[in-house]
Amino acid sequence: MDELLQTTINGLASGSIYALGAVGLSLVYAILKLVNFAHGDFMTLGGYAAFVVNVTWGLPLVVSVLGALVVVAALGLLTEAAIWRPMRERGAGVMQLLLLSLGFSFVLRNLILFAWGGETRTLRVDNTSSYDLGIVRISLLQVIVIVVSAVAMVAVALLLRRTYVGKSMRALSDSFALAEVSGINTRRVVTYTWILGGGLAGLAGFLATIFTVLTPQTGWVLLLGIFAAIILGGIGDPFGALVGGLTLGLVQEWSTMVFAPTYKEAVGFAILILALLFRPNGLLGHATRTG
């Protein structure tokens, strides 16, 4: 029982990072039909932005979160203007954009490697404190990760459901063309999508950095898990991505009660494959009419 609770807490923490990454990637996919293979590296860049603010410049941790958010959102907007919009206007197909983003992920990851080298980096954060709650221990970092993610998720949910921008985003995800005809300023919505998706990636990168360590590979390594989370939750549904991320984190940590921890990732991927075979529309999805 203790072990179950302990692994549940660990799973919630790592699942939160998957979920944050997944929600951002899912938003971009839902609205722009871009399967962004550079999303993991967006996260990594967020980690390094936080590193620069927190360690190089010596500013407080809270400021470094802002640094991560701003830098990655800006990168999202920059790539939109330089790459994705021109390509969409030229009628590029889904696979063409996917492979393009794959190329960009090479570029970004290795520019990061070029700039900061391959050493592992850590932020100035208290990574030893933990609280004894009787039957389980929870570290300060786990508390930060879970609380920050939860707050971010609630904020995103409110934004999508309550604000005009959020509603426009959902309209665009249903049909870009229809939204355009019905007078929604699609360009502005796309801008907000990159700010939100990029910001979430930056935040996820920051949390991944304080929770583990930062290397140029950090986000890339998490990317497959993030895809898994999105598919588990049902593609294009930000709420589903949240559920998928948490499910993945929990299942991976629970699996350590049965298998060696080194199999943790393999178990996550196996769950993904099984889910796809038996619930191809995601854990929350419904069958749709085809043909």
Partner: protein, 312 residues
């Protein structure tokens, strides 16, 4: 030493290019002909390599181990394909990459059998002795060869044979049906083409070819490590495919040489930079090449734009 004169080094780079060429010919069958976006292709190479290595280190003669390893890679393709080929293209891509990662993690963890991260040593068995015999035979006739030449020749002979074989069946009704499936499964099914079987055959054929590249890789490296088979290898394969041209077998050959030169070759050029910075820049160049190709010439250097299908 002038790097351009270091023959052994260039022989090595070209051998690597040859291994990649075979590997990517497998991808070409899957993506170029059947439209299957297989992001876990490196797993088939891993099966070919580790099956060879494990059989050889357990005393199976090399000439038996190699065909068995290739067959196992094909079988692994069938195994992966049976449950997953009905999935949407992008789901299939994610599932194959996940399956590849599961295999790699298992190899890494089964240290007793595979050596795990310590590596599977002497996986190429008596290849070194065979190689020496070949060299001696030539030097007995007054020809002194670099020790890397025999494998270089073997690798490229294999690559060319595989390419010729693919071109041979490339004109067949089988490939016509496959191209129809790639473009529109419903249209193919409506005139009675067995969509699922065709895709499975293409996947298994591509897997077998990747298995061959795994065998060659084993002979080249002599020791196998799980990190040799990370997803990045598949993506380098995709860069080659995109550069050379989806649908063009000849493009694969040229693309392999260019990419192998960028990744392994520039190591010898003198840059006033630290080694890992140069390493990073190599991949920046590869990434920029992919991006530039996708943006301006998605059919690659040798592909036909009219026949390119990238909407799946």
């Amino acid at each position: 030493m002038d790097p351009l004169l270091a023959f052994g080094f260039w022989a090595y780079v070209l051998t690597v290019a040859g291994v990649y060429a075979v590997f990517v010919l497998g991808l070409q069958v899957q993506l170029g002909d059947a439209g299957l976006l297989n992001f876990g292709h490196v797993a088939f190479m891993a099966v070919g390599a580790y099956a060879t290595g494990l059989m050889i280190t357990n005393g199976v003669p090399m000439l038996i181990a190699i065909p068995c390893a290739v067959a196992l890679a094909a079988l692994f393709g069938v195994l992966i394909g049976l449950p997953t080929l009905r999935l949407r293209g992008d789901f299939f891509a994610i599932v194959t990459i996940a399956a590849g990662e599961i295999l790699r993690i298992i190899i890494q963890n089964r240290q007793d059998e595979t050596g795990g991260t310590l590596g599977l040593r002497r996986a190429s068995g008596s290849w070194r002795e065979t190689n020496n015999t070949i060299l001696d035979w030539f030097s007995g006739r007054g020809i002194e060869l670099d020790r890397r030449v025999p494998l270089l020749v073997i690798t490229w002979v294999v690559a060319v044979l595989v390419a010729l074989l693919l071109r041979h069946i490339g004109r067949s009704p089988w490939r016509r049906a496959l191209r129809a499936v790639r473009e529109n499964e419903d249209a193919a099914a409506a005139v009675g083409k067995p969509v699922f079987n065709l895709k499975l055959q293409a996947l298994a054929l591509g897997a077998a070819i990747a298995g061959i590249s795994g065998v060659l890789f084993t002979l080249l490296q002599t020791s196998l490590y799980p990190e040799n088979f990370e997803p990045i290898v598949t993506f380098i394969g995709f860069s080659i495919l995109i550069l050379g041209g989806i649908g063009s077998y000849f493009g694969v050959v040229v693309g392999s040489i260019i990419i192998a030169f960028i990744i392994s070759g520039v190591r010898f050029l003198d840059f006033p930079l630290e080694a890992d910075k140069v390493a990073a820049l190599r991949y920046v160049v590869v990434g920029l090449l992919i991006m530039g190709m996708m943006a301006f010439r998605p059919q690659g250097i040798f592909g036909k734009r009219e026949e390119l299908h990238l909407d799946g």
